[in-house]
Symmetry: D2
Subunit: 346 residues, 4 copies
């Protein structure tokens, strides 16, 4: 249950304050060129500490590739993979990778050993497993998403060679959709010792018609599954989404002309299959559950307790969430491409 | 890609106007008693023709069980499965079943052979496969959901023995959430040759804490995947859903007391794992794409065309959708229960 | 656990004396032409009653296609699938099918309800599930393999269009490899109220180099998994098989020349991947466990009992087993072909 | 295709001369105590250089655990995992691990960059992927099996708590089954610049009746699949195996008494399900393909070439293979145990 995808698959591992997080990327076609610099840049964009709205925790998040790639020079000759290699070529074998947890301060979490933080998975992990890694969220930490960003960057680079590009950006923070006010809304929440929710909009362009599998492999299903695997996501809608509940069919049906669809209420997907139009979906994130205000809770023994989170946390997880949304969308789209290869023209 | 689930799995088959639809249910524990009468009743509730808002197409939707069950008498002795058997016992082997397509009128769809209906999968199936069964939607027809209702009823009956019950009902039609007006809104749309969207709310009670698997088997992820596999679904949110984008953490975090959670903004799921509270989610359906009003479209050769759908269709797919939402939720929950058996206490 | 394959997948269902056996074939590429007459002929070859060595049970084994195909006329125009249709075209959707159990005589098995037949799965099903369908083996009956023969014929027909052909024949019966004596050996065993074991050799020609996936999807691994899913199989070896245990490397290594390999000790597979040579493997079947001689056993209560099987059984399961070996080999090879599509040249 | 198992799953990665090999173990129940010392000891037994018959390559094969475990003290209190921790407890989250490739000498393989070694996967990898890591076998190297030994030791330790134990030993080398002569046969082959084949016998005791899933998850199927995933394996048989081809049913059927089975021709498995008796199977390995004698071959351009392997290789892969057989058997048995949890008594 730590593997995602059908042909292109990511298996991830790691707790936030253990030795490292990482993963294994399987199903990459052989002979594809990957820029490791671009992968590192994607990791850097996800990294905390770079902007308002994100945690000041400092991690170098330095990617280590362990297998599955060789360096490739300008003539296309493969060779030894070095630490500073940029261009690498896929071997068709699984890419094992890790990112060390350098800035782990497990001691900072000692008092959480016995106390359940509201809005976190502390309570449910203990109920499910009978024990948990209490250090900073352990496996349920957002840090786990770094592995997805790595796999997503691999996928994005392959998709680009097919003309498919993906963008994801904040569309709403704290109920406000005016981008100019995002930073101040986040800063207000932080100053108040609080946090705030937000939404991300994702657009995928250049997708040919035909990707996605009926009945239980619908493209929207794979995208939704990908998005709800991200911690803190509480809503997903594609095309006109929930607005369609209030529409009539005559408004919602996208007319077709010889030049293409006249509108895109359906978000680029019909019957689970891409129709060639832009794919559009929206992802809703809850506010960061970790806040500096005191919250009523219980400890492992079931006694009343109180918890304040003074650690280094993003006041708005949607901000860094956008990079993860983009990564997961790329993973889904590459997988859909590879699965579709066997659909026809055998 | 026509199989859903991990341990409890439904593989479905069938086009709307072929010989039959059906499926194979795998992973049912042995020795469980199933009321086939209840399964048939669930099918009858999904069946068209029974209420306003649903299609007048008449189908007996008579379930035929082909394998995996034996009849069981009052003393618990297994025997031959007859056509009118109510109580049956699972053998641990796969349950093959079918529902004949009795009221198929393929001729009625001849004119759709060459024309793509807007809002339907006609265009995308042709692009993906190079051909399609044009008769009434073929594989993309809502009729396929009958197989899910069968599997869902099996799952519901097993879940009931564990104290888990699921309800699904219309929460909104055409932008209106006053249930007293639902019938008239639908009737207005039908009279206008149009259709209308709606939303379904689903509640699952009696769920113990601990179901759902991090990281890529989160309970909300499985539920969302299940819901987006239903045709016409464009949105899914759990707990406070998209409203959380506008909230602060201090509002959204559910406080914990020795007696339980003080609120349920999270919809009964934390970190992908059930927390013991009621699980609540909402599913948004688009309006039925088939309407009697003329729509601009193209034919297979790419020429301009016009299409009106005069067939027997629901003006609001959300109405029958509720039964399918309930069925898919049951499939997910039973699967989550079975997967969780190996989590601890080995 | 009743599904086999990765992209091309068979899900099977059915007990030997229930209403029907059948299955769902998923992952068939769209637009492929299938001769249903050839599928029926393969079923007829597997059918009991046609030769010495096979059971006199009479079953018409009439295939019913429920979905996934349309008839196709000489001009390639798809239309309604009729009962006597020969040529059909795949739609890319799952093919549901069934074979009614016409000649089921469940009453004949009443005395087996409480008694475990040695060499059969009666004992283990009861231990695993707490109950079983005692009628003629139920799910563990060889009758289940008819579903595989259907899927295998579909796969074979697709493989033929790629130049791949598969043959399977008896190589040994009762320790004798002289084919001229096979019938008399079987007849002797039958006359003695006994049964006899045998081996099947399978050859796959026309396979291009490159099929099979390292590390856990090796071609020999998939073939072995397929063969050991057949009841009664106790051994599998490919190439020189167990003989290689007695060889030196200088004898076993297949030299390579510009014209190809000089020998085929490796059976056409190197490192889990086809090398372009003929793939050769051998499958060993135990004797039919059902014999007319009395055998010491116990009943469900654990008391001493005796059982003689007077039913209609093959004295040598390897005879009909050859058709099943061929079918499963075809399923594996088509699946390997489809999986390999994403290996390179993205 | 680099993942093995259903609930208990190993995903492996790594080339023999890259940075590291490793894997992710998923599906471990939480709260189980693991001795990391025992895992390291299993790795040491697999390690080259320790005995006649194995390669003199020196690797420390030092296991690094990256996630999924915490240290546990005598009172059962979990804490930080240190480098010298012996006893650890599973968290229910995936165990990421790696083993650095310290003794990699990639330069030693430069001349193999363009030449295909007979009996190796060089030719087939190139055909499949269009390129390969030529350094010492790359992904197809036996070094990859170290990851299996790690997962197998985890599985073995859990199985021991259920009373299940597994042994694997050499039963034959170079056609000789007298264990006293094994070392000299290997030494003779090495002196001649050659290698030799062998067979491993594996016994699993303490297995309760009921493990294994019909129809496509038979216990012998999973075991065979596991064994044929090991490089160099060419044969698998369980119980009396291929000898059964020469037997009659009256000889082969294991009689049942109130005290248990009177014989074990079936190898402890009936109908794909364990019967409570010892599980016995035999695995045949080909001779090491790398030999010091010159072999005729071709280069990447298809020209005639000659290759001698002067590297550090085992003259008999079956010797170290026994440890891998044992590991894979443990992985299968633990998986079968976990899958069986949902079979009955829901």
């Amino acid at each position: 249950m730590n593997t995602f995808g059908n042909i292109f698959r990511l298996t991830s591992f790691g707790e936030s304050h253990g030795k490292a997080i990482g993963g294994v990327i399987d199903g990459l076609p052989a002979g594809c060129v990957i820029s490791l610099r671009k992968v590192q840049e994607a990791l850097d964009r996800r990294r905390p500490g770079s902007r308002p709205g994100v945690s000041p925790r400092r991690e170098s998040d330095r990617l280590q590739i362990l297998s599955g790639l060789m360096a490739i020079d300008r003539e296309g000759v493969p060779g030894e993979l070095l630490d500073d290699t940029d261009l690498a070529v896929t071997l068709g074998t699984p890419v094992g990778f890790l990112i060390p947890n350098l800035d782990a301060r497990p001691g900072a979490y000692d008092r959480l050993r016995e106390t359940y933080r509201p809005g976190h998975a502390d309570f449910t992990y203990d109920r499910k497993y009978g024990l948990r890694d209490w250090r900073g969220g352990g496996r349920s930490s957002g840090r786990e998403t770094a592995a997805r960003v790595v796999a997503g960057s691999f996928a994005s680079q392959l998709l680009e060679t097919k003309g498919i590009s993906i963008s994801a950006s904040i569309s709403e923070i704290g109920g406000c959709s005016d981008a100019a006010r995002f930073d101040s809304i986040i800063e207000e929440a932080r100053t108040a010792g609080d946090s705030v929710g937000g939404a991300v909009i994702c657009r995928i362009s250049g997708v040919p018609a035909g990707l996605g599998e009926p009945v239980f492999g619908k493209l929207q299903q794979m995208l939704a599954s990908a998005m709800f695997s991200i911690g803190g996501v509480h809503g997903f809608e594609y095309g006109d989404g929930f607005s369609l509940c209030g529409m009539r069919g005559s408004q919602a049906d996208d007319r077709i002309t010889p030049e293409g669809f006249l509108s895109n209420h359906c978000g680029g997907i019909l019957g689970g299959i891409s129709n060639g139009d832009e794919i559009i979906f929206r992802v809703g994130f809850k506010p960061t559950p970790s806040i500096a205000l005191p919250l009523e809770t219980i400890d492992r023994q079931g006694n009343t307790a109180e918890v304040k989170t003074c650690g280094r946390h993003d006041p708005c997880i949607a901000v860094r969430g956008a990079e993860v949304v983009k990564a997961m969308a790329a993973i889904v789209m590459l997988d859909a491409w590879l699965v579709n290869l066997s659909a026809k023209d055998f």
